[in-house]
């Protein structure tokens, strides 16, 4: 992570085109979502069930992972465990290298983005081709995804056309969405038919059966899952659900929340290997990479309930302004603001828990009821506690200000004194129009775009006291 959220946001806010694209895309999905959610009378019950199932899994994660491992192995899959990104990449590389694979096709996967798999493969001479249309756009443009579900929403048709002309070596190409989609279909079809290996993430791992479920729209997933003889699935350890039938909850909540559809075009569920249908060799890599640490914190454990629908991004008024890139991680928006700093043990992304006005829109739509504002506040308190252990943090303006405010709020008398003091201090800042238009230091952030009402001559408590005296 390079820039803090406020700094990255400042840059992105200047990009009017990006902001228009983000606002349009999130509005479209949000409205579609609202429509298909409203028609489900049992939506809150589905959320309750989804939340409870995910919470139950997390509290028994070891048991369910072992169940999954046993069932998947019995069905012909090979299960690997990886403590961190490097280990997961090493395992994938070892499998591919031993089969002398030079090119793999990939299904859109946040997890492989998280571990930087493509770069690790490229470094060893294996090229990874993203097959989801948006991911392909991102990859061909040497760009990074800006949204969980629609990663290329920051690019418009003209930009995509130019990219395809250049990168696919085409002579001519129309600029409708249909033209561009057809170009991607033709370009990828040959690769699907000849690829010798595919890599996927997973939406769900089914403990009971050892099955894996992938939810998608374009059919690129089905191509990757069924055509190449070798398949590697990389999944976070939190992705497990207890039983096949638990899908009855998530297959109702995930598509509605993610793309605003009653059901997305394709869901694939497979278990190990199956004779002549699909890959002959199947591996699952179970990735920890910070997740067990999040699990250990009972307050933020709920972060791991996430099923990556992206609904929180589409309603977030902050994300709406900046898009996903400001979050400096593959996970943007409200879920990214809590997940990223935790994955990195607060050593990266410490500005992210503050990248929210705590408006609560994310919690309201979350299909597994992650109380994101609560986790944000919890993470803020951890950051503050850390800062207070350093001299710089202790003597920093925020800490000094907050300590002073806490002392003022200890009694009514102190508050009255502070109000009088404030009235005296504000005098030099009063503007010509009766408001304060410029403030120094920390408070300059406010006055960069907003005037401030001055403190009036009489506080409410002073008025009340005067009224009491006048009446008696």
């Amino acid at each position: 992570m390079t820039a803090s959220f406020p700094a990255a946001a400042r840059e992105l806010l200047r990009n009017a085109q990006l902001r228009r694209n983000v606002a349009h895309a999130t509005d479209v999905i949000r409205h579609k979502r609202d429509r298909v959610v409203e028609e489900r009378e049992d939506w809150q019950e589905l959320r309750d069930a989804g939340s409870a199932i995910r919470q139950h899994v997390l509290e028994n994660l070891d048991s369910y992972l072992l169940q999954f491992e046993e069932a998947c192995s019995a069905a012909g899959g090979q299960v690997h465990w990886a403590r961190d990104a490097a280990e997961a990449n090493r395992i994938a590389l070892a499998i591919l290298s031993s089969r002398e694979v030079r090119e793999v096709i990939k299904i859109k996967s946040m997890t492989t983005e998280e571990i930087g798999l493509n770069a690790a493969l490229e470094a060893r001479g294996i090229s990874a081709i993203e097959t989801d249309l948006a991911e392909l756009i991102v990859q061909l443009g040497h760009d990074v995804p800006s949204h969980i579900v629609v990663p290329a929403l920051h690019k418009n048709r003209q930009q995509i056309r130019e990219l395809f002309l250049r990168e696919m070596g085409l002579d001519q190409l129309g600029d409708t969405a249909e033209d561009l989609t057809a170009a991607a279909r033709a370009w990828l079809r040959r690769r699907f038919l000849t690829a010798r290996a595919a890599i996927s993430g997973a939406n769900f791992l089914i403990a009971e059966t050892g099955g894996v479920a992938i939810v998608e729209s374009e059919g690129n997933g089905r191509m990757c899952l069924t055509l190449p003889p070798l398949l590697i699935t990389i999944a976070g350890i939190e992705k497990v659900i207890p039983s096949f039938r638990d899908l009855e909850v998530f297959l109702q909540t995930l598509p509605r929340s993610a793309t605003g559809e009653r059901m997305n075009p394709y869901n694939s569920i497979w278990t190990g290997t199956t004779g002549a249908d699909g890959p002959q060799e199947f591996h699952v890599i179970l990735l920890d990479n910070g997740r067990s640490r999040i699990l250990a914190d009972s307050e933020s454990r709920q972060t791991l309930k996430c099923i990556r629908c992206g609904a929180c991004q589409n309603v977030c008024p902050v994300y709406r302004q900046t898009g996903g890139h400001a979050y400096g991680s593959v996970y943007g928006g409200p879920i990214g603001a809590i997940l990223t700093p935790q994955l990195h043990n607060l050593e990266q992304g410490a500005s992210l828990p503050y990248a929210s006005s705590l408006c609560g829109a994310c919690y309201e739509v979350c299909p597994v009821k992650i109380d994101i504002p609560e986790v944000l506040i919890h993470l803020r308190s951890e950051i503050v506690a850390r800062e207070q252990h350093t001299i710089g943090g202790m003597l920093g303006p925020w800490n000094l200000g907050m300590q002073a405010a806490a002392r003022i709020f200890a009694s009514g008398e102190r508050m009255e004194t502070a109000q009088k003091l404030g009235r005296a201090i504000q005098r030099p800042f009063a503007g010509t129009s009766g408001t304060i238009e410029s403030l120094p230091f920390l408070l300059s952030g406010w006055t960069q775009s907003r005037d401030l009402r001055p403190i009036p001559q009489e506080s409410f408590r002073a008025w009340w006291a005067r009224r009491g005296k006048e009446e008696s």
């Binding site: 349009h24 479209v28 049992d42 589905l46 309750d48 409870a52 139950h56 509290e59 028994n60 994660l61 299960v79 465990w81 403590r83 395992i91 070892a94 989801d132 249309l133 948006a134 756009i137 290329a152 995509i160 969405a177 989609t181 991607a184 699907f192 038919l193 089914i206 099955g211 729209s217 374009e218 059919g219 191509m223 899952l225 069924t226 055509l227 350890i237 207890p242 096949f244 039938r245 009855e248 297959l251 109702q252 559809e261 009653r262 059901m263 075009p265 394709y266 869901n267 694939s268 569920i269 497979w270 278990t271 199956t274 002549a276 249908d277 179970l286 920890d288 067990s292 640490r293 250990a296």
Partner: protein
């Protein structure tokens, strides 16, 4: 090749504050105690269920014909002709009575992907269909074939028997449960993307067109026959 297995399990258990895994009984009891207040069974009579299925399919741009069992082959012939399909495949175990005789048709289970890429159309049955979401569910096996069969050809015509149709997603999962480990594909409309400026484009990598013939329904309206 799993040196990380024990360390990860230990981290998880330490994080959860217990030395070993939960007892299987405790786990099962915990799972069965979870709240499941959502709807798990149907509340529509068969006819309305079928109407809902048709309506939801049409929402995805999927054409549907409802025909008696005796005219499935004829209805299929009409659609294949309309598509100008020349090379057509079907899965092993596909009912002979459903095969339109006048076409050159081939059992496709053993075809390689590049051979399937030269095929115009595929006919399949299904295991279950879901009315509320307009979904057909295929599992590897008789009348449904291996997954690539219904994936690579550009046109997929699926025959759904009314007895296979359920109203809700939970009912479908219940019916699929005994064969849960078979490769399973839920199909809801043709492949689609909204990745470019949120404009819905039908037909990306999977079949660009999907059509359904519903047979054995309460009310038959051979809409597709009439279309010719």
């Amino acid at each position: 090749m799993t040196p990380a297995r024990e360390p990860i399990l230990t981290r998880i258990r330490t994080g959860l504050g217990r030395p070993g895994s939960s007892e299987p009984d405790t786990l099962a009891a915990g799972l069965s105690a979870l709240p499941r207040g959502y709807r798990t069974c149907a509340n529509l009579p068969a006819r309305l269920r079928e109407e809902l299925f048709i309506e939801r399919l049409r929402d995805y741009g999927v054409e549907v014909a409802t025909v008696p069992a005796s005219t499935v082959a004829g209805a299929a012939a009409v659609r294949l002709a309309a598509r100008q399909a020349r090379s057509i495949v079907f899965p092993a175990g596909f009912p002979a009575a459903w095969l339109p005789g006048e076409f050159n048709m081939l059992e496709g289970d053993l075809l390689r992907p590049e051979e399937l890429d030269r095929v115009d159309a595929v006919l399949t049955g299904c295991t279950v269909a879901i009315a509320e979401t307009g979904t057909i569910v295929l599992q590897t096996g008789p009348a449904q074939g291996p997954r690539r069969l219904s994936l690579i050809p550009d046109y997929h015509l699926c025959i759904v028997q009314a007895s296979q149709l359920v109203q809700t997603v939970p009912e479908a999962l219940e019916k699929l449960d005994p064969t849960a480990t078979l490769p399973t594909t839920f199909i809801s409309g043709p492949s689609a993307t909204s990745d470019i400026e949120m404009t819905r484009v039908r037909g990306v990598h999977g079949p660009r067109a999907l059509e359904v013939i519903l047979t054995g329904a309460q009310e038959e309206s051979p809409r597709l026959d009439e279309a010719v």
